[in-house]
């Protein structure tokens, strides 16, 4: 679960940025999913949708939430100025009816919709926008989204021009800046201004607060919270959107989020009819559900590869030879590109896809998954397994083999290292076990060490007491800007070598340069070319050895209308105002 937290955190950081211009076609649905997808057809009002959350939301405060459960509930209760349609991956006007961009790309003027009301009936004006962004930018509140609003080292400026017009100023041009607005829900100034000024904002909108304390511009509002069991949202009577036949949205009367802590329990609840949709589950459960599909009146959907990439990486951090002498010694191998190439060549990625994901995953050549059609560079060759080439590379790097077949490094040290994984992620544990066996064929003595997620992250980010690790990162959006914190050598998710004061290698300098250039380049094709070069460097230099990307798998009962899951979070609830019960 905690794994999702970090993924959630990254996702939060990423939701906002993305490909501005071009059309992002939905990935083609596979056989199982090829059944009728109801588009945005008019539905009927009424009914309840029940869905399970993996954990209880930690907060309902949009400026504080970093876990996936909180974000899902907040998504249903709030609205942002400009929204990313998760299906088309294009931006859509939401609270802002339209926007103008100055010719230098540094000033955005947003024209707000008039006559909107929060879910408590109070009107929405530019003051609410200015207030919201003041909160998001406040360093004392330290919102997880805050750093996205720092562009060119300076926070963006927000100014009210009149009751319904707001101007945003950027220090530098920023590619696809309008996508930034997705993920910054507008807060009601009339409810939160006082607590904010009293310095108590970080306690505001806790999940246990009374429903009357909340107000949002989203389709639903809080009705009930039962600790340990469920959170219930009811229709927001002031929601502004109407469907093509003029019916006020949302269609649903209520959404019930049940807290069901494990995936297995979620599957059982879905099968027993207690929940209506099932969001993201493993391919093993997919097979189980698929067998009962026709009997039980639901469909399972394989949406194709997600944006999540799983990878193996070695510890290339500057570790002190005094505190961690063993690791420092082994880094001589890890830093040798030929060693990393040999490891990559020895890994049977096809077996990972088949045995870990039952074929419902894609082999990765770089960090960009086949699900990300807009940014994937197809010119990058798929990795091919070759133990012979791996052995040649190791030989050329000074490695040799003992009579018993075990590998030893240049100083006659036996090649032995451990791969760290999170014990809460059974897929990654399986990947580690496969890699252990693969590398055993090269004579490497690999140990799989599984720790709980918190302990693992502490080693990866703080103590650097690890040799290699398997991790996955999931972007909330497809845009390369979401990846800035991974590829910039100063980035906080530059996992293999954190806290670099300057790029440690020439190719890391290249990554910095390419990522920074694409950030301010406004032309999609030029950006795509730049990001393609980033992918090529990752595939060539292997700072992370990309393995596989699991498919997004979801399921819904047949009586759920307008069910249109997407590969972007929140996978099934993104069009929650249009979902209805037949």
């Amino acid at each position: 679960m905690r794994m999702f937290k970090i993924i959630g955190k990254i996702a939060a950081a990423c939701l906002l940025l993305t490909p501005g211009m071009a059309f992002a076609p939905l990935p083609p649905l596979r056989a199982a999913a090829a059944k009728s997808f109801s588009g945005g057809s008019p539905g009927v009002r009424g009914g309840t949708l029940t869905i399970a959350l993996r954990s209880e939301p930690k907060t309902l405060n949009p400026a504080l939430a970093s876990d996936a459960a909180s974000q899902d509930v907040i998504y249903c209760m709030n609205a942002d100025l400009i929204h990313i349609n998760r299906s088309s991956q294009r931006t859509e006007p939401e609270l802002a009816q339209s926007w103008d961009v100055s010719s230098d790309g540094r000033t955005y003027t947003l024209h707000l919709r008039r006559g909107l009301r929060f879910s408590d009936g109070q009107p929405f004006t530019a003051d609410d926008v200015v207030f919201s962004f003041r909160v998001y930018l406040d360093p004392r509140i330290d919102s997880p989204q805050r750093e996205l609003l720092i562009i060119g080292g300076k926070p963006i400026s927000v100014a009210k021009l009149d009751e319904y017009t707001v101007r945003f100023g950027l220090a530098e041009p920023y590619a696809a800046a309008e996508r930034l607005f997705d993920g910054f829900p507008i807060l009601p100034r009339h409810l939160l201004d006082r607590v904010y000024r009293e310095g108590k904002f970080s306690k505001a909108w806790a999940i246990s607060d009374a429903p009357s304390a909340f107000a949002g511009l989203g389709p639903f509002r809080l009705a009930e919270y039962v600790p340990g069991q469920r959170i219930v949202l009811e229709r927001n009577p002031y929601y502004w959107t109407r469907d093509s036949s003029g019916t006020q949205l949302p269609y649903l009367d209520r959404i019930v989020f049940l807290f069901v802590p494990s995936e297995d329990a979620q599957v059982i609840r879905f099968l027993s009819g207690e929940t209506d949709v099932l969001s993201r589950f493993s391919s093993e459960d997919f097979a189980v559900l698929q067998r009962q599909e026709s009997k039980e009146k639901f469909h399972v959907y394989d949406l194709g590869p997600s944006l999540e990439y799983n990878f193996l990486f070695f510890n290339l951090n500057d570790v002190s030879t005094r505190n961690l002498p063993q690791i420092a010694k082994k880094q001589a191998w890890f830093r040798d590109l030929r060693f990393r190439q040999a490891v990559s060549l020895a890994i049977d990625r096809a077996a990972i896809v088949r045995l870990v994901y039952q074929g419902r995953a894609a082999v990765l050549a770089s960090q960009v998954t086949p699900g990300n059609k807009l940014w994937l560079d197809p010119a990058i060759a798929q990795p091919v397994r070759s133990l012979e080439r791996a052995r040649e590379l190791l030989k050329s790097a000074g490695f040799s083999w003992r009579p018993d077949g075990s590998l030893e490094g240049p100083g006659q040290h036996p090649v032995e290292f451990s791969i760290l994984t999170s014990s809460s992620n059974s897929q990654r544990m399986k990947i580690a076990t496969l890699i252990q066996s693969d590398l055993g064929q090269l004579g490497m003595n690999v140990h799989v060490v599984s720790l709980d997620f918190g302990a693992m992250v502490d080693r990866l980010l703080n103590s650097f007491d690890y040799e290699a690790a398997i991790m996955g990162l999931a972007d909330g959006d497809a845009d390369p800007n979401t990846e800035m914190n991974v590829w910039l050598s100063s980035g906080e998710m530059h996992l293999w070598h954190l806290n670099e004061s300057r790029p440690a290698t020439p190719w890391e300098a290249d990554l910095n340069r390419l990522m920074n250039v694409q950030l301010v380049e406004l032309n999609y094709l030029k950006r795509k070319k730049l990001y393609g070069q980033v992918q090529a460097i990752v595939a060539r230099e292997l700072p992370i050895i990309c393995l596989a990307s699991p498919d997004v798998l979801v399921a819904a009962r047949n009586n759920i209308g307008n069910f249109s899951p997407a590969i972007l979070e929140p996978y099934v609830l993104w069009n929650v105002d249009r979902i209805y019960v037949r």
Binding site: R354, K430, T433, D452
Partner: protein, 343 residues
């Protein structure tokens, strides 16, 4: 007399089972880490005496598998690929009881045939092999850890019960504190202090130590209660009156009363400790892949898809039941015997 014979039967079974576990390498056809990536979740091999034409073979055989193209893990027997089972064949190297190197396996089939008497797991590893090897760690760790915590419990409980007063208070409150400690977080801390990778024997003693240490407080309470009531018996008072020393009283008159508690606790604790290993493995304190343990075999059953799809994954669990029953039978019988001899 009849009970007595049953006792010896059970004891012999238990002993021979342990002998099989000790010689896991001999009784299992493969290495516990060997992955057959073409056969994930393969069902148990069926042993045939009659071939597809109905002819009888004196030597049993298995069919090869043709993996079905429809799904990644559905298999059909290939009647043209016949692999007779051979006995005392040469196979992957192993060590008997960790010392004597050998290559002889009780049974096996010629390559590329495969024989999985208990099916395979998700990596195509032979479940029978993993069950036998897993028993080595789990039974030894369970037994030694249970002995540790009972020994500690016995010492603490009998001292507390026998002497009473401040000794009792101090020891029992100590036990309370021990039970109230947030073990999960302490284990996190222990894990952080330890090196990332540990040798197999280090892991083993760590398991035994952690499990044994955590578990002593409860048996100590039970034993204290028994000692408390035993020491007030008239014959104990009488013995004291004759000038018997504390040690003599404890040994001769009081502790024999605790045998039944200890034996029942033992039979309860061993299965419990085998499961405790699953938790410890989750925290990174257990045996790592690819080394099997019964805990890790059981933990596969936590997944819903395993429960509903692959019945042979239950086999290790089912096989453990008679073993634990045998333990409790032996404990019962021992209790019976101790009762039939006057104290």
């Amino acid at each position: 007399m009849k009970n007595r014979r049953a006792f010896w039967v059970v004891l012999t079974l238990l002993a021979s089972f342990h002998a099989v576990i000790v010689c896991a390498g001999f009784f299992s056809p493969y290495s516990y880490s060997a992955q057959n990536r073409d056969f994930p979740f393969a069902p148990p091999s069926r042993i045939h005496f009659f071939d597809s034409r109905g002819d009888f073979h004196i030597r049993p055989f298995v069919y090869g598998w043709a993996a079905s193209s429809e799904s990644f893990n559905s298999y059909a027997a290939d009647p043209n690929a016949v692999y007779p089972i051979h006995f005392l064949v040469s196979g992957p190297a192993y060590r008997v009881a960790g010392f004597i190197p050998s290559r002889i396996h009780l049974f096996g089939v010629a390559e590329p045939g495969r024989i999985f008497l208990m099916g395979t797991d998700g990596f195509g590893r032979d479940q029978l092999t993993r069950f036998l090897y897993g028993g080595q760690i789990s039974l030894a760790a369970g037994l030694i850890a249970a002995a540790c915590s009972l020994l500690l419990g016995l010492v603490v409980g009998s001292l507390a019960g026998f002497y009473g007063g401040w000794i009792d208070d101090a020891l029992m409150r100590g036990g309370d504190i021990f039970m109230a400690l947030p073990w999960l977080y302490l284990l996190f801390a222990v894990r952080t202090a330890l090196p990332l990778h540990m040798a197999q024997w280090q892991v083993f003693f760590l398991l035994v130590g952690v499990i044994g240490l955590i578990g002593w407080a409860r048996p100590a309470r039970l034993i204290r209660g028994v000692v408390l009531s035993a020491k007030e018996r008239n014959f104990v008072r009488a013995a004291r009156g004759f000038g018997a020393s504390d040690f003599y009283l404890l040994r001769r008159h009081v502790l024999p009363h605790t045998y039944s508690v200890i034996l029942t606790q033992m039979t309860l604790l061993i299965p419990q400790y085998i499961l405790a290993e699953v938790t410890l493995t989750f925290l990174g304190l257990g045996v790592g892949q690819p080394m099997p343990s019964w805990g890790s075999l059981l933990s596969a059953l936590q997944h819903y898809y395993v429960l509903v799809s692959y019945w042979w994954m239950f086999l290790p669990a089912i096989l453990m039941v008679p073993i634990f029953l045998a333990y409790s039978q032996v404990a019962d019988a021992l209790q019976e015997r101790s009762r039939s001899f006057p104290l």
